[in-house]
Each structure stands twice: as structure tokens, then as C-alpha cells.
């Protein structure tokens, strides 16, 4: 494998020569120039000006073959020479003009003539009597992309050893072989040995047989075979850089077919660029293969040590820390990151330092236990101060990503501790402005997630869902796969809350398969699917199935589990226990969670949710009054923090308690007031509960009224109406238990009203539902 030069690069040089000879007509200049530039410029510059690139250029193969040149050039007529000839003909003429190894040497030696001469050279030429080049020639500036490429190619060729130059020549001969047929057809003058003048000249002398033998000795016996020298280290490095960038950008693994292709390329060459170890590291990391990724990371830094020295030590440490954290070795991760911080400080690498501090902050949020031990060094001071510090630092050093992420963190912190919504909004708007201004596509995910969750907390679930959809349809292309996955899961959750389990499942199933090869993402995905199924099972009262799922889900909720999912699973576990009527364990679980949360200072919304659950548990266990203080506290906290859905849930719990205290009127008033607004939240289970509480309240009112009075009748009718509503909600959720309860209530009311036939009907319906559920379980 050569370092830089490949046959296709020779092709590019020939193409540039064509251009400088003014053989390219004015109309076709732009496509041809952009073709060449597309090959020359590094991918980072290209990606910035993506919009201007036509799609045809992007679909070019990684290793340019002759077809790529043909499709480009055959369409353009030549500006000089015979009419009817295309640029493709001229190009081939140039290629086949290189007819010996010596001609290749000359070809490269002549590249210097394409460059504009410096004044000294012109002076020297004038002294030697060499006339200045003609005006028709387009001369390239030495510092232009073309000029730079030409000079680099020349230098690279000069430093090739003979055997390498030879390999290049043979690869080149093979590369252009396929165009031979065309050339013969077009010019008719190419002999059997075209392409090597020595053979051609020698044929007269040696005769065809001996010539063929010499050709075999010189070129080996597969001139038509697949080329091996067509890839240069430079190409591979470019490819690796691209691949690593993609992996870092999207968090994917390498697709199988690309990985195989890549292996094939790397096998051909002797020098493996050290970046490939990094790529292997990323791949192994994503695959969740801890030992391999560890090994590869060390290997990468061992190989790069020589040319980058210790200056990059902090990056090695940082990578190490992130890796350790990902695999749950938190102590080591923290230690490594702290060393990163001190090394970065030593080397005055502000970017690295800020990144490390940011990471430490987030890590501390996620795993307060581990950071506590090292907090004594007091790297960031109190949380909020730390954020402010980070923000100002980011501003100073111009790290926009860090700046906006610290703004978002601040918003999140405010939200989770139940502070002013306005402040949170302010922070988010600031960050949004920054993101738009600096075109940081990668930050779009966190920003959208924050907006979505904020609206969700405020009870506008429609808007919240819409944010998710927007992200998926507009920004997912530029964002990490993790973000995409999280948003999809959120949507699935919304759907599940409305009882569209199948649709939610489908949503998850349709995720990109290759991206799901990433271990972490795959875990998350699997768990989320598990949660969805668990929810459905619980609602359908399929407790055995739920038990099975839960046992699996609970198993994997160790330290390394995602905290959001962990909480969700715990809630579902509590629900399961309640359905099993194992109230004492449910209560214990709630208490456990609450105390853990208090310790870690977790999100206020979760705490409120636990309070509401506790109140519900008291209700279930038949002592609703005991939950009064809890419910009131939940309601007041939720109100203060504007956690609207939870507020309604808490109010529902209070109404229920009022029911139990026979304060039916008050309960009904509360419920009537909140139900319309609760409906906005689109949480069907809560709606069903609220309706059933309302039914209870009206029932109580009816009971308080005189028998046979209009008021009683009115209340009973209302009861029926609300029962139907609740039944609808329950059936949307496929909640058998709720449905049955409603049916039973309805039958009872019918009995009270005095319509035994209908009552009978409903009773049989009740039995049908039970039967159905039993069938479904079996």
C-alpha cells in the first residue's frame, strides 16, 4: 500500500492536466472542477458545504474506478481537437500515453509545469532562454487546492522507493485495463502490448511468445485481475476519519458489509493506520465488549504516542474514563476523569478541561454516590455554582456546545427542584438561540427533549408529543442514535398511555436495525419493549405474564441501569404488587424509593408521583383517610412546581378521600372542575380513575337524596353517564379489572333503578369480560 498515490490519483492528475490545457469547454468546467475537488478536499470541509454538492458526487465509490471518470467525462465534448471527441477520449488518450514505467516518472516530473512559476523561477528561466508558458495554458497557483495536490503528488512520488513506484505502475496498468477495449474501438491503433512501450518495441525482436513470457514475468499473471495496490494509506485514513466521525456523531456501530469491505482493504496493506485501532475501540465499545474495547483503546494510544507525544495524554485519560463509566466501573472512571482534569490544567488545555468538568457534573448528577468520595477536592463547588462556572468558562473559550448544554442543565436543575418555570424557559430560549446561531445540529436532541419534557410537566402532552415528532422527522439525521431512540420511546409511551399498544410496539420495531447493534441502545430498546408489554399485561390483568417480565426487568436494574427506566420499572412493580393485593410489600417498596430519592435529591416530579401512589395505596387498602395528608402534600407540591398532570392525580386522590368522608358534594365539585383540564393530559388511566371517583361522588349524592326523588334519579343518570365514560377509558387501555368494576357498578345501579333485565344484561356482560380475560390469559 502506498502512502498517498493510487491509480485513481493519477487519473485525477491527468484530468487536471486536461483542464489546464483548456480542453474543457466553459460549460462543463463546473462539473469537472467539482468532481476533482470532491476528491481532494477533506470530508470536514465537504460536509459543511453539503448543500452545494449535487447528489451524483456523493454516490461516487470510495475508490474511483474508470467508470466514475467515464460517467463524468463522456457527457462533455472536448473543446480542442477533433470534433465529435469527448473529454473521455482525451482523457483516455492521456492515460494510455503513459506507456512505460519511465513515462510514469516523466508524467510526474512534468506535473511541475502545470503550476504557476514563482518570480525567481521566471527570472531563472529567462536567463536560461526558456520562454514563458503560453497564455492558453491555465496555470495553477501553488497554494490552490489543485496546486497543493499536484505538489503533494509530486513529492510523494519522489519519495517512493523503486519497488513502490513499480507497484504503483502495475496497479495503474491494471486499473486502466478495462478501458482498453473502448480505446481500441475508438482509435483502432492499440496493439496487443499497448501500455508498455518496451514490450511493444521488443515484439519485433523477440516474437510474440517470448514477449508474452516477459510480460508474465514483469506483470504477474493477472493483468485483468482485481487490483491490490489501488488503495493508499491516505485513502484509508480518510475513510477511517469519516467512519470514526460517523460513529461518534451517530453512536452507531459499523455496518456488517462495510466492516467486511474494510477488513479486505486493510489486509492488502502492510501499514495499518493507528486510527483503525480507535475505530475498533469505538466498535467494540458500542458492542459492549469491554475487554476488547479497553485493549483497543490502549493499543491506539500506544501507537499514537510516538507522533503526538504526551500532549494528548489527557484525551487518552478522558476516553478511558468515559469507557470505564459506560461499563459500570465508576470508581475507576472518576479517578481517571479527575486525573484528566489535573492533566488538562497542567497542559492548559481549556477545551479538554471544560469537557471533563462537564462530564463530572453530569456524572455526579447520575451517580451521586460515587462522586461524593471525591467531592472533598471541591472541583465545582455547589451544584449551581459549578454550572455557572462551566457556563462562563464555555463562553470564554468559545465552546458553544458546552455553553448550551450547561444552560440546558441549569434549566433542568431548576425544573427538577421545582423552581420557577419562567427561569427554565429563559434558559431554554437562550440555549435555543445559541444552537440556531452556531448551527449545532448535535445539540438539537437535548434541546428538544427538554422542551418536550417541560410541556409534558405542564400538562400539554399534545405539544410534548409534537416536539418528539418534530425531532424525529427533522433532526434525527444529524443526531446521535441514542437521542432518536429516546424520542421514539417517549412517543411509544404516549401511545401506550392511550392504549395504542400495538402502534407503540410497531414504533419501536421500526428502529434502524444496524444502529440497534450498539449494545447500550439495544439494552435500552429491549427494556423499553419489556416495559410496554408489562404495562399491557398489567392492564389485562395477566399477572403471571407480568410476573415473568418483571422478574427479568428487575434483574437488570443494577447500578448501570438507566435511572429513568429504573423508576418506571419500580412504578410498574408497585402496580403489580397492588394488583396482587400485596399491599405491605408495595408500601415497603414505595418507602424505599422515597427515602432513596430524598437522599439523592432526585427530580421533584418523581417524588410527587410516589406520594400520589402512596395515597392510592391507602385507598386500595381500604383506609383512604390515612392518605389525606400525603395527598394534600402531593397536591401542594405539584401546584407549586406546576406539575399539572400530577396535580390532577393528587386532586383525584383528595376527591376520593372526600368521598370516603361522605363529602360527596365537595368531591364532585373538585372533580367536575379538574376533569376537563385533566383530559388535556391524555393520560387515560388517570381519566378513568377520575371518572370513577366522580361516579362514586354522584352515587353518594344519590344515596344522600331521598329515594325516588328527582335528585336521586338525576344523580343516578349522571352516574351511568360517567360510568360509560370511565368504561370507555378503561376499554381503551384494555384494563379488564377497571372494565369489570364499571360493569358491576352499572349492574348495581340498574338494580337500584329497578330495571332487572338491564341489570342482568350487564351482569352477564361482566361475566363475559371475565371469561374473555381468562381466555386471553390462557
Amino acid at each position: 500500500m502506498t502512502r498517498f498515490l493510487t491509480p485513481s490519483k493519477i487519473g485525477l492528475l491527468a484530468l487536471i492536466e486536461l483542464y489546464t490545457e483548456a480542453a474543457v469547454p466553459t460549460t462543463s468546467t463546473i462539473p469537472i472542477l467539482s468532481f476533482v475537488l470532491n476528491q481532494l478536499l477533506p470530508s470536514t470541509i465537504k460536509s459543511q458545504s453539503r448543500s452545494s454538492n449535487s447528489s451524483s458526487l456523493e454516490s461516487l465509490p470510495f475508490l474511483l474506478d474508470l467508470h466514475a471518470f467515464e460517467t463524468l467525462l463522456a457527457a462533455h465534448p472536448s473543446a480542442a481537437g477533433l470534433p465529435g471527441r469527448t473529454l473521455w477520449d482525451k482523457f483516455l488518450q492521456k492515460l494510455w500515453g503513459i506507456d512505460s514505467l519511465n513515462a510514469l516518472h516523466e508524467f510526474f516530473a512534468n506535473r511541475a509545469f502545470l503550476l504557476a512559476k514563482s518570480p525567481e523561477e521566471i527570472k531563472k528561466d529567462g536567463e536560461m532562454g526558456i520562454p514563458p508558458p503560453s497564455q492558453d495554458m491555465i496555470l495553477l497557483s501553488r497554494t490552490s487546492p489543485f496546486g497543493g495536490f499536484i505538489r503533494r503528488a509530486k513529492v510523494e512520488f519522489d519519495r517512493l522507493r523503486f519497488s513502490d513506484a513499480l507497484a504503483l505502475w502495475i496497479a495503474f496498468a491494471k486499473w486502466r485495463q478495462e478501458s482498453k477495449v473502448y480505446c481500441i474501438r475508438r482509435n483502432g491503433a492499440l496493439g496487443r502490448w499497448a501500455g508498455d512501450r518496451a514490450l511493444e518495441d521488443g515484439e519485433l525482436e523477440w516474437g510474440p511468445e517470448a514477449t508474452e513470457m516477459l510480460e508474465l514475468v514483469a506483470y504477474g499473471n493477472d493483468l485483468d485481475g482485481i487490483d491490490s495496490g489501488a488503495v493508499s494509506t491516505d485513502d484509508v485514513e480518510k475513510l477511517l476519519e469519516f467512519q470514526v466521525e460517523q460513529m461518534q456523531k451517530f453512536g452507531n456501530r459499523i455496518p456488517y458489509e462495510i466492516r467486511d469491505k474494510f477488513k479486505g482493504i486493510l489486509e492488502g496493506g502492510v501499514t495499518v493506520p493507528s486510527l483503525s485501532h480507535y475505530q475498533n475501540f469505538l466498535d467494540a465499545w458500542r458492542a459492549g465488549d469491554y475487554p476488547t474495547s479497553f485493549d483497543n483503546l490502549h493499543r491506539y494510544f500506544d501507537y499514537t504516542m510516538q507522533n503526538r507525544d504526551r500532549l494528548f495524554y489527557q484525551y487518552a485519560l478522558m476516553n478511558l474514563a468515559v469507557l470505564q463509566a459506560d461499563f459500570g466501573c465508576f470508581e475507576e472512571a472518576v479517578a481517571a476523569m479527575l486525573e484528566t482534569v489535573s492533566t488538562a490544567r497542567e497542559n492548559k488545555d481549556m477545551a479538554c478541561l471544560n469537557f471533563a468538568l462537564n462530564w463530572l457534573y453530569h456524572f455526579g448528577k447520575a451517580h451521586p454516590k460515587f462522586i461524593r468520595g471525591s467531592e472533598s477536592t471541591n472541583m465545582l463547588g455547589v451544584e449551581r455554582e459549578g454550572l455557572v462556572f462551566l457556563r462562563t468558562k464555555a463562553k470564554e473559550t468559545g465552546m458553544w456546545t458546552l455553553w448550551s448544554s450547561s444552560l440546558l442543565s441549569e434549566a433542568k436543575l431548576g425544573m427538577s427542584s421545582g423552581e420557577s418555570i419562567a427561569t427554565a424557559f429563559e434558559n431554554m430560549v437562550k440555549s435555543s438561540q445559541l444552537i440556531v446561531e452556531k448551527n449545532m445540529k448535535s445539540m438539537m436532541g437535548p434541546q428538544m427533549a427538554m422542551s418536550s419534557s417541560l410541556w409534558g410537566r405542564l400538562g400539554v402532552s399534545h405539544l410534548s408529543k409534537e416536539y418528539c415528532e418534530i425531532f424525529l422527522s427533522c433532526h434525527a439525521r444529524y443526531a446521535l442514535f441514542d437521542d432518536t431512540l429516546r424520542f421514539s420511546c417517549r412517543i411509544a409511551q404516549f401511545l401506550a398511555e392511550k392504549g395504542h399498544y400495538d402502534e407503540a410496539m410497531k414504533r419501536l420495531e421500526s428502529m434502524d436495525e444496524n444502529s440497534l447493534r450498539s449494545w447500550k441502545a439495544n439494552q435500552y430498546w429491549l427494556k423499553y419493549r419489556g416495559i410496554l408489554r408489562l404495562k399491557r399485561d398489567l392492564h389485562q390483568n395477566n399477572l403471571d405474564g407480568a410476573d415473568q417480565l418483571l422478574s427479568q426487568l428487575l434483574q437488570s436494574s443494577g447500578v448501570d441501569a438507566d435511572p429513568d427506566l429504573g423508576f418506571e420499572i419500580s412504578i410498574l412493580h408497585i402496580d403489580y404488587l397492588i394488583r396482587r393485593t400485596d399491599f405491605s410489600r408495595a408500601l415497603a417498596k414505595i418507602e424505599n424509593l422515597a427515602s432513596a430519592m430524598k437522599e439523592e435529591g432526585d427530580d421533584i416530579a418523581l417524588r410527587v408521583k410516589l406520594l400520589v401512589l402512596k395515597a392510592g395505596l391507602q385507598d386500595k387498602s381500604g383506609r383512604p383517610q390515612k392518605g389525606f395528608s400525603v395527598a394534600v402534600r402531593a397536591a401542594s407540591i405539584a401546584w407549586r412546581a406546576r406539575l399539572i398532570p400530577l396535580l390532577w392525580a393528587a386532586m383525584g386522590a383528595i376527591a376520593n378521600i372526600l368521598n370516603s368522608l361522605s363529602e360527596f358534594q365537595a368531591a364532585a365539585q373538585i372533580l367536575v372542575a379538574i376533569i376537563p383540564r385533566a383530559l388535556e393530559c391524555e393520560t387515560f388511566s388517570m381519566n378513568a380513575h377520575l371518572y370513577s371517583y366522580l361516579v362514586d361522588a354522584h352515587m353518594g349524592l344519590a344515596g344522600k337524596a331521598d329515594a325516588g326523588s328527582l335528585k336521586r334519579k338525576e344523580n343516578l343518570t349522571r352516574c351511568l353517564e360517567f360510568i360509560d365514560r370511565a368504561f370507555d377509558e378503561y376499554s381503551a387501555l384494555e384494563d379488564i379489572k377497571g372494565q369489570c368494576e364499571m360493569m358491576a357498578k352499572k349492574a348495581t345501579i340498574m338494580k337500584v333503578v329497578g330495571e332487572p333485565v338491564l341489570a342482568n344484561d350487564y351482569a352477564s356482560k361482566y361475566l363475559d369480560l371475565k371469561k374473555e380475560a381468562a381466555l386471553a390469559q390462557a
Binding site: S100, F162, S163, D201, E205, T211, L214, V217, A218
Partner: protein
Amino acid sequence: MPLTEQDTAQLRAALQEAVVKCSERCLYQSAKWAAELLTSIPPTDEASEPEDSQMTEIPPSGLPPIVVTGNLDPEEAQLEAKEINQYLLAKSFFDCREFDRCAAVFLPDTVLSGILSSTSTRGPENATTPKGKGKARVSSGRSASKLAPILPKLSQKSIFLALYAKYMSGEKKKDEDSEMVMGPHDGGNTTNKQLVTISRFLENWFQEHTTEAGEVVGSQGWLEYLYGMVLTKDKNEEEAMRWLIRSVHLYPWNWGCWLEMTSLIGRVEDLNRISPHLPQNIVSFFFHLHTSLELYQSTPNLSNSLDQLLSIFPTSPFLLTCLALLAYHIKDFLAADAHFSNLLALHPHRLDSLDHYSNILYVMNLRPKLSFLAHLCSTVDKFRPESCVVIGNYYSLLSSHEKAVQYFRRALTLDRSCLSAWTLMGHEYVELKNTHAAIESYRRAVDVNRRDYRAWYGLGQTYEVLEMHAYALWYYKRAAGLRPWDGKMWMAVGSCLQKMGRHIEGIKALKRALLADSYYDAGVGSSFGSGGRDKGGAMDPEVLLQIAGMYERMEDMGEAKAYMEMCVAQEEGAADMEASVINIHADSQSSDDESRPTGGGTSGDTGTGVTAATSKARMWLAKFAMRMGDYTRAMQLATELCQDGVEVEEAKALVREVRVRLEIGGGDV
């Protein structure tokens, strides 16, 4: 020289035996040479076919045994039979390049050290006695009795193999010990440390087997060859030659031995002196041919004998190479190119002596062909000195001299005795203006092989650049001595003498150069009849100008004028009668005169045209005519100069002056 059927069969048998015997003794190159020759004998087609079918029943001499041959000497045969197992072991060690181990199979280190210590006691005695025949005699009485039990009783083949392995191990160590090529510590003086041991052993062995009459009984030539080789390394050349001649008498088919002899012969006289002592057979014929070529001989006699050999071995690559080299030596590059190219087609994998081919292509400036050759060599084996030299030459032609040096260095690392690489590296260093390195590498080339005129010439050139003319003269003389018929050498000698102010000698040398050139060209013309050389029988105007200049310096104006005229005359070519008139005027140009009409017949356009030299000569003539008062002549010459467009300003000034003078002169009359 057509051979009879029987002769051919005999020759074939001898060659077959030679291949097997040489490979038995691990003399791979000799075996290769013999085998190449063997296959180049054309098969006797119609006669052999039926014969063969008969032969299948009773093979006459049978197929030669591939691994081991029998020995005609019964005693040796018995010993060999006894040692066969050890021999096979030793041979396989040798094939695996484990030389010391191979040697130890037959001659354990204790035996060898015993020999060393016993002889070292004789050290002072040894030093006092002159090396040569007498030495063995002097100590024979005492040491024979003392040494007899030490020498193990072994067959000659085993002894040879063991000692040769020892020798090879010494060479290998030597290579390993020597520093980087042209590095700071690379004095080229590391020696083979095993030589002493081997020579002691062989001395004793020969002593033991020498009868009172001075005859070595039962010896088969191989040990003599080895002894000769060892003596060569010791620079004891006379003695070495004696032993080598003995060896070829005993066994002529060992080509390596002949090659050793070639390397010992420095000049034609040596060869002629040796010739009568050689056995008269076909190999000796080969030797003569090869050595003559090494000495840059190119007599018709030589090409004649080459033709004869080719009739026997028509496709022998060795002979074809000789043919090409012969053409190269007489500077018939086209023919040499054709021969080599033919050879290439016949044996595309053969790299031997392709470095010479690359030299030819270099001189002919055939870049594509040279690049192809380099390509071929590199694909066949890029770590052969020949390949590296070819590649180096190619880079030199591309003017990338650093790379060329790099490849020559590689060639030398692979084989330090690669003569052409040393010389060519010297050339590259000259190009790179690194005179010290150039001198060193030329010097090393000369040390390796004193016959290389290019290295001598290069040395001279380098010293001339350094303006050390006395040194330069010495080296130029050496070069001219090696190639007396090459005008370039004499020209160099002449100009060197001129710079030293020794004009008379200088003029002699330059005249000789003129003579050599024309003689040479005539020779080419007669033997090949080719008109390919464009310079016909013309003389180099530069030389003529130089001679004229020297005469002028000596204030011999008549001669100077004559040579100037001759120089100008070269413009029109040799057909110009004026030139030959003046030729007669010059002494010692008679041979030139004879060649002139023959060349003149064909050459209407062989003139050099206007060159810097002729213009200078013309200017000088014009000025001279002016001084002499021959204004019309001066006018004519000056206007000619104006027409030629060289030094127009000066010529115009001259014309004006002449006009003024003419007017004045006219006025006077």
C-alpha cells in the same frame, strides 16, 4: 568447429558429472554454470531418438547419480562410502547455511585448534622462511611426524566440504562484522578469520600426500582450488595461481576455479604468460574468452573463437552475454543492446550480468527500455546486486542521484565485491559534488578489481576537479594503459598534461587520442561494416583546437595554424580534401589517411557543423590572418563567423577593423 556425435555425448557426460560434482561440494555457482552450458547443447534430434529407445534397455553410462557420484580412486571411494551418512548430514547443514556446524561434522573444532596450535609453535620459523615451495620442505621432517596423527583420515570430498564450510562461515562473519557501506568505520579491511586455519590444514594435508618427487598423490583438484582461493585472499597471488593451475589440470570442469584465475589476471601480458601452462581443452577456451573480455579485449580473433563456441552451445546464456559484452567493448551499442535483448527474451528470469545491459541502455539513453529492465529485475528479485545496480542506473538517468546512490549502496550491502556498483556510485558522488566520497568509492572499486578502467578514469576526473593534476595524470595513465585504443583516455591524459604545462607530452597524448579514435572507428567499420556510427572517420574538433592551442603556447605558429585549419575543416566533414592535405602535414597520421577515403565515400554529411570549437578556431584564424596582414582571408573568416551567428559582436568588430585596414592599405597603394 562441428563436433561429432561422440564428442557431443562425451561433452554432455562431462558436464553432467561436473554439475553433480560441484553441487556435491556445494559450489553452487559453478554447478549452475555447468548446467546452463549443458542444456544449451542442441539435442541431436534424428540420431538420438532411435538411439534412446535402444538405450532404455541397457543404459550405457546410465543416468548420472543425482546426489553422489562414485569416485574412481578406490581408496577415496572406500572412504566416501564409509562417510556417506556424515557427508549427507554435513551437506544438509551446508544447504541450511549452518556452516560451522557443517564443518564440525568432519573437523570438530578440537582438531582444527590442534592444527592451529601445533603450527603456531612453528610461527617464528614460518616467518623466516619465505613463503612458497620451500616452506613445506623445510619443516617436513619434523612436523610431518608430529602432525600425522592429528590429521583425521577423511576422503577429499569431506575435507573439501568441511573446509569450504569453514571458509564460508568466515566470509559470513566477515560480512556481519563489516560496517555500513561507506560508513565512518568502513575501511574495507575486515578479513576472513578462518583463512589461517584452512591454509594450515591444507598445507599439512598436501605435505602428507606429497611424494619425494613433489607430486601430490591421489589429489583430485578440489583441495587445490580451495587452497588457491585462500591464498588469493591472503594476497599471495603467485602461489595462488600455481595452485589454481594445478587444480584445473586435475579437474577442468570447475568453473569457479577458472573465475578465481581470471580475478588474478590484471593485464593481457599476464594472460599470455599463463596460457601455455593451461590444459588444452574446451573449458580453457572458455576461460580465455572470458578473461579477454574482462580485460576489454576485442580482437577479431576473440570474436572468432566466440563464434566457434557458439556453434557448439548455441543458446548458452553465458556465451550470449560474452557476445553482447564484446559488442559493448568495441562500443557497438546497438549490437550489444540487440544481443542482450535477445538474451532477455530467452531467459527472462536470469539476472546475471544484466547490470552491464543497464550500462549500455544508460549510454544509449533508452529510458523506457531501461525502466522496463528495472521493472523486470525488481519483480524477479529486488535483493540481488544486479537488480539494485539496474535500478540505480535508471535513477541516475532520471538525474535523481541520491536515490541512485541509495540503490548502489544496497547493491554493495548485498555484495561488497560488486565492482560496477562501486564505480557507478563514484560517478553518482561526482554528480553530487561529493568528491571525497567519490574518490573513496572509486578507490574501493579499484581495490576490488584493478582492471576497471572506468574507476581509474573516474579517479582521474575527480582529482582534476580538485585541481590535483599530478594525481589525475597518474590515474588517467592507468586508464589509458588499460584501454590504449580509447581516445577518451588519451584526451584526458593530454589535457591533464596541458594543464601541468607539459605541452610536448600533451600534444603527443592528444595526437594519440586522434589516432585511437580514428583507428577504432575504422576497426568497427571493417569488422561490422555498419554505418551506424555517425562520426565516420572525423576527428574531434575539440582535440584539434586543444592541440593547436598548445602549439600556440609553444609559439609554433605554423603547426598551430595547421591544426586550426583542420579544426575548421571538420565542419564540412571528412570528405573535405583540405583536411587530408593537412593530415599529411601532421606527422603520425598515416593510418588516419588511409581510413579517410573509405569513410569519405559514404559521408556527405558527416561534418560536425558549426560548433563552439570550430568557431573559436575560426576566430583565431581570422585574428591570425589579421596579424599576418592577410586581410582578405581575415575578412572572409570574419564574415563567415557573422553568418554562423557565434560571437557576432567580436566578429563584427573584426570586420570593421579589417575594412579600416583595407581602406588604409588601399590608400597606401
